[in-house]
Homo-oligomer: 202 residues x 2
DNA sequence: CAAAGATTGATGCTTATTGAACAAAATAGA
DNA sequence: TCTATTTTGTTCAATAAGCATCAATCTTTG
């Protein structure tokens, strides 16, 4: 499962791209995205401006790449506990949920910015979609219900999770990742979850 | 051949040198310096091995550069409060002392490693010398005593300060930088200090 | 408004870093 | 001891990133 094409860049491009993304994140903590100039970004990143244009055309493209990076990491964090498991039971969901909150915490500043800024609603949609699709795949693989029902269920859980994340982030990470997981499980293990996961709970 | 110490290097060399230094520091937290290979360093630094040899010949040279970097920062931290002051009185000494402990704290892992490892005694000597020379310059500038007397005084205060730093570091930074400064001032303002700084107190 | 200044893309040329390969030397393990 | 594996310096062509510079827009702000 290797996506080689874009993955075999040499160290330099990966490095400067990371520098640019980090720089943008730092600047976005100080001023709105619109007010940030490319010159500022490359200055913060300690990178020549010509190098910026080697990778991106506009700063929007950089922001896009930044978002996609984090979302890719989200997917990996979610899938990690599933690596050696073929059954889908409530215990694995628990650990995978923990991974998700850990992931959010490890990108704390990113999510703080993205989920509190009103003019960056785009990410919230993307994030909701990603989570929903992850859940959707699980549902479709494990119990062959109608696609429609799975859609609803996935959407429900996705929004529950997203809502938790947003509250957590906007609250400044006051609670621990473990605590958030417990709250999530409270919702999942509620009335809706039993019929979803009944095969594996017993 | 030898590493060119001219100050106007372009970003790439500064960057990779910093990467190598950071990598070495990380590895030294895990194993003794002797047991660290260059391959490990470049792997940790995410740098091609050929690049290492562009800058250093042995890993000892890298360690040397790392130490010199921190010591240079120490000198700057010490001198900073003096920038806009031509007189040398006890209050400026107070603030400058604070800067020194802040400096040590900002390089916490470095000093923890260097001052606790017995096989790195070399740094302690260098550090003592640097501090002593800083004090020595102040003494020579402000009161034109005999060089010998200044040497003694500087050495005395330098070792007092170094001793405090070592204790502080080896104690795991249990006390605040401010507290350490107070302890330092208690020593300096003791019986020996009055005749040293008498011209400027009044 | 208009001058002053900053930002933008783009250019040509130089330099640092990369990946790969290699033989020699060192280290580890059986 | 004898292998097998790292590590070590050192090459090379390819290329990413660097710096400096330019004219052409934008932004300030007096």
């Amino acid at each position: 499962m290797s996506t080689n094409v874009s993955n075999c860049k040499d160290r330099r491009v990966l490095r400067t791209q990371k520098q640019l993304k980090d720089a943008l994140l730092i600047l976005m903590e100080q001023k709105p995205f619109q007010a940030i100039s490319i010159s500022e970004i490359v200055q913060q990143a300690d990178v020549n401006r010509g190098t910026f244009y080697n990778h991106y055309q506009y700063k929007e493209e950089l922001l896009e790449a930044m978002i996609d990076d984090v979302l890719e990491d989200l997917v990996n964090a979610y899938r990690q506990p599933y690596q050696n498991i073929d059954r889908f039971d409530i215990s694995t969901l628990s650990t995978s949920a923990i991974k998700i909150f850990d992931h959010v915490q490890s990108h704390a500043t990113f999510y703080s910015l993205m989920l509190t800024s009103p003019d960056l609603q785009e990410l919230q949609n993307k994030l909701g979609d990603v989570i929903k699709n992850l859940l959707l795949q699980d549902l479709l693989i494990n119990n062959h219900q109608s696609n429609l029902k799975s859609e609803f269920l996935a959407s429900y859980h996705a929004h529950a999770l997203l809502g938790l994340i947003i509250e957590w982030v906007q609250g400044g990470f006051r609670y621990s990742s473990k605590f958030m997981t417990e709250k999530l499980l409270e919702i999942i293990q509620g009335k809706n979850s039993r019929k979803v996961f009944k095969t594996s709970i017993t």
